[in-house]
Subunit: 215 residues, 2 copies
């Protein structure tokens, strides 16, 4: 399999974690989001993914999958050893809701293209741009902390004692939060789960600093 | 089942479509996003959903589900008649990727709380606010149009000839696009699928104008 990735892309980071946790080998194809006016926007990459977003996963039969959550669910359905989803529908709904809280309510607002629009179209300065990112991460983490701290289904990880899709989404978002100096002491359950994930080799090897294109 | 809903909420609209397509009866509990400083932010609703977002679905055993895509997948797993997901993993990945293109790449940027932040924190005027909404819908629809027009898997609906999760997400987003006067002639496949959906009773009955709390 070929993963079109960028070391600091949160969405690519999610898929790297899932591939690692499942022990699936892949070739990393770096796509630099800042070089050449954004390599993801160029025709060569649009031929891979017309949505021009990272990541894409080319699977061995030549099909290309997009959207990190869809990719991870596909990997889970086709490689069920080391499951990343619970077996029961209510548990699956909870894991998806936790993952979507990151993927819909937090991450899209801090995306590079959005920050560029703030700066170039709305002439937002650096301080207000950083405040924007911190605001949406804090709002989303407040929700996520309540969902995690208030449920007996939360274990060592977001759902029980083994990693799921929710943890694949949580860890890259905490990485971003730390970059923007969000005060994580306000989110003790998230911080605890993030630390537990960090002890697993699959999470550690997926970290941006460990990628071939890391800067 | 009880659906906490707001007539104009895109995410609630998705779940109403899914419930209708599956023929599942539910009680609508309106939560007004603009009244009382946002009813979704008040303690009464936070007790239902600590993330303070619409929709939530209280199922008959008392459990409450959140996040529209997670709710729809739960309904599909537990009420498999009238499936909203394909049976094959590649098809499921495609339907999820289409749905996530709406749910992650378009919808979060036009959400009420985001527009409020633009106005109150970044002092963006009405014209620039409308341009922001139109921009992200147009960007997302350009991606979605390419994904739909370029694939033999697209049929009368987003994936084949019966509605799926992808159509549940597409239709509310087109409703929003029309509110913001996005030129839909640029997105002929999306417009064609939207029209096909409109002919189905389940989609029509879920329209904001048909809700008990419509204004």
């Amino acid at each position: 399999m070929k993963l079109y990735t960028y070391f600091r892309s949160s969405a690519a980071y999610r898929v790297r974690i899932a591939l690692n946790l499942k022990g699936l080998a892949y070739e990393a194809v770096p796509v630099h989001l800042l070089r050449s006016g954004g390599e993801q926007l160029q025709p060569a990459y649009r031929a891979v993914n017309p949505a021009a977003m990272i990541p894409s996963l080319e699977i061995d039969d030549g099909a290309t999958l997009t959207q990190s959550m869809a990719i991870i669910e596909y990997l889970d359905e086709t490689h069920p050893a080391v499951p990343l989803m619970p077996a029961d529908p209510l548990g699956r709904a909870r894991v998806r809701a936790l993952a979507l809280t990151v993927a819909c309510d937090i991450h899209p607002l801090g995306n590079l293209r959005v920050l560029k629009y703030l700066v170039h179209e709305l002439t937002v300065d650096d301080e207000a741009k950083a405040a924007w990112s911190r605001h949406w991460i804090s709002e989303g983490f407040t929700a996520l902390e309540a969902m995690l701290a208030g449920s007996p289904a939360t274990g060592r990880f977001c759902h029980g004692d083994t990693p799921t899709l929710a943890d694949c989404c949580l860890v890259p978002q905490v990485f971003n939060a730390l970059r923007f100096e969000v005060d994580m002491t306000r989110f003790p359950t998230i911080a605890r789960i993030h630390a537990a994930c960090g002890e697993r080799a699959g999470f550690a090897a997926a970290h941006p600093s460990k990628q071939p294109d890391a800067e």
